[in-house]
């Protein structure tokens, strides 16, 4: 993305330089040429010129609309991640970044990604608004409490790249920094293979699902008091008010922390809120688990005990 952003940037730098030189050149030229030569001299009265006014209204208008079109096109490429991405989950809190990979790897203030791969971050905050900013990739997105935001990038060169928090978040805001470590694929695989033998996010999510007794109502068949979650992710859900909503991450999150916000048609509002009972990481693990329930009943079994690196136990506030 960086080369496209830079292309627009340098175009605008050239445009700025051109107009700055043009106007300051004219100002200096006029200021010298028409300097006051005697104390009682007055300027030549010139009322204005409609044709000139139209010219210098229309030309800037065309230029700015051109910039608008260019930048909007770029923005939509940035806003829409490609279909096939490597997903990483991000939780920001005062003043650190926690990254979770679907395979269960968790890191703090460091994010390992393979080169040449589109990486999609799904991000949320545990407290105030933060912002993931990786200047070298020219990407930035706010990280908000209570909702998920997304961002994607594709690193083209291995190396270490700075990551900053770009939304002011309190005392140690300027210390909420980290590194994106871009590795060759082989090296990245080696990194993945190393580390604690933790369960995948989906496995940890499944354990949470049982620990929190979600499984009592959300069953694999349709006999539960709550709707089944098999094959739910990405589907349209009909609500009791007749509207329909896509079961995306935001919907799943909302349905866990605020179950009555969107009631599924045909079910009673009996689910209690889990706000404060599940950490942001836990929510992401639950979502990753629900995502994994694509068609058949889950056959993931015997998830190992929750690893220390990825807090999976419900957080008591």
């Amino acid at each position: 993305m960086a080369p496209q952003v830079d292309a627009l940037y340098f175009f605008l730098v050239a445009l700025t330089a051109f107009f700055t030189l043009l106007i300051s050149g004219l100002v200096v030229y006029f200021a010298i040429k028409y300097r006051r030569r005697s104390k009682d001299e007055a300027g030549v009265p010139i009322h204005g010129n409609l044709r000139l006014e139209i010219t210098w209204t229309v030309i800037p208008l065309i230029i700015v609309l051109f910039i608008f079109g260019w930048s909007a096109k770029l923005f939509f490429t940035m806003a829409r991640p490609p279909a096939d991405t490597l997903d990483v989950y991000v939780v920001g809190k005062q003043w650190m970044w926690k990254f979770q990979h679907p395979d269960g790897h968790a890191e703090v203030n460091e994010l390992h990604v393979p080169v040449g791969t589109s990486v999609k971050l799904t991000m949320t905050s545990q407290d105030v608004i933060h912002d993931v900013y990786i200047p070298d990739f020219r990407v930035k997105a706010d990280v908000l409490p209570g909702r998920y935001t997304h961002m994607w990038f594709k690193a083209t060169k291995p190396g270490r790249y700075r990551l900053f928090c770009a939304e002011y978040c309190g005392t140690n805001h300027s210390g909420m920094v980290g590194w994106v470590v871009v590795q060759e694929r082989a090296e990245y695989q080696k990194w993945l293979a190393g580390g604690a033998g933790t369960g995948t996010m989906a496995q940890t999510g499944e354990k949470l699902f049982k620990d929190l007794s979600c499984i009592t109502c959300h069953r694999e068949d349709t006999t539960g008091r709550g709707p089944t979650l098999i094959g739910l992710y990405g589907k349209a859900v009909t609500l009791d008010d007749g509207n329909s909503v896509e079961a995306d991450e935001a919907y799943l999150r909302e349905s866990i922390v605020n179950p009555r916000a969107k009631m599924v048609s045909g079910f009673q509002p009996i689910m209690p809120t889990f706000q404060g009972l599940v950490s942001e990481e836990g929510l992401l693990q639950l979502i990753e688990y629900i995502k994994s329930l694509r068609t058949a009943p889950s056959n993931a079994t015997g998830a190992p005990a929750a690893p220390a690196a990825a807090p999976a136990t419900p957080e008591k506030k």
Binding site: I23, V27, A42, A141, L144, R162, Y168
Partner: protein, 538 residues
Amino acid sequence: MDTATAPTQTNYINVAHTAKSWLLTRDHKRIALLYLISVSVFFMIGGLFALLIRLELLTPAGDLFEAETYNKVFTMHGVAMVFFFLIPAIPATLGNFLVPLMIGAKDLAFPRINLLSWYVYVLGGLFTLAAVIGGGVDTGWTFYTPYSTAASNTHVILTGLGVFISGFSSILTGFNFIVTIHKMRAPGMTWFRLPLFVWASYATSLIAILGTPVVAIAIVLVALERTLHIGVFDPTLGGDPVLYQHLFWFYSHPAVYVMVLPAMGVISELIAAFTRKEIFGYKFVAFSSLAIAVIGFFVWGHHMYVSSQSAFAGLVFSFLTYLVAVPSAVKVFNWTATLYRGSISYQAPMLYAFGFLGLFLIGGLTGLFLGALGLDVHVHDTYFVVAHFHYVMVGGTIMAYLGGLHYWWPKMTGRLYNEGWAKFAALMIFVGFNLTFFPQFLLGYMGMPRRYHMYPEEWQVLNVLSTAGATILGVGYFIPTIYLLWSLKKGEVAGDNPWGATGLEWQTQSPPVTENFPVTPVVTEPAYAYAHQEKRFA
């Protein structure tokens, strides 16, 4: 009228000397001076905080202050400068002094409300100062939620109250100006004979009365959420943190035009006076102020491209942002064209106007970078933004404010300032300003986020340059304080019209009498009719 007005002549300053005569005055000119003193105090406070920021950033490590102290310093810099200096500076001092004079009125329509607005401003200022003295506030001048409502343990409410209260002062002044401009123009002073500063003040007043209530409500909601935990912005209470940003920028973007439109009005007056020429395309310049005021209300979302706002909302806001760029460009072209075949003199106010043109040009053009959706993602919340808005607000507003203050100083005080020192200070401010803020564009594009107490070492050189510039700038701002005060006692007596300018304010004595004109003037010609009155210059 005799041009060598004796200083002993009765005028609005020497008409009474008691403290009560000042504190209970209803004279718009005296109130303007009260404002001049109080906004200058806040400018010095804000400037002092700026200096502390630049000192801390001299080194990459956060070694001068604790992180929390630094955060309070930049917050107080922003709050003092934006709410207590930039917003009131031109309208409340120059505007208060000039609007009635320029339209040939005896005073503003509601003199008591005008005085009230000053007291309200001072009260708001005292609340904010109390917050500073009591330990400060660390939310940034933007008070973003949920940090301000749920996390910060500093004096958010006290500061917020200060801002809330001072907002009423803007509303009262705006309302006063609108009524005055509608109802109190002298005979013959038609709308299209109004000086462009009056048009700009009118447009500014519209924004102030329509926008300020919104930010006031937003601040009240922040206070209520902090104290009573009603859930408006905090998601753990069921609120929406982005809602705050909408409410805040709905006012605070137009507020940028509250700062810069009057500055543009001043520049029109300066260029006309020092080219002795009418402003090229008067009506285009006048209407562009209104266009900016109106479109300016619909661009707030460009502060929120990366806030999780929908991409389509971003699209609309970007489009409107580009539209609002056009009237500003039109003004710059018209000012430049006014120079053509003028009789241009380089006195200090005109140097400030030249400085304004250069800095506002860069400030405006770099706005195109930030309005660009795909590019703003990278530079948003970096030093690029910091540099951009300082070019507009400091390079634009303060250059114009100082230019205007010098230009009307002889009218306000009856004395001339020292021209040599004034030119020197103008030059120093221009150089210091560019050295301070130009490196920040580079830092921003390299990725330095704003509001950072510490930063990576590779950015030190540019930060040192910026601090060096700020030092020059600081001295540049200090010099006028000295020679302007000095001129009050020792300055040459100015006479009624030292510049040979048109405009009703130059037709009455300097300083004017209490009700401005001995006889209500009758206007028979358009503004800036220099060609008809060469005889006046001699």
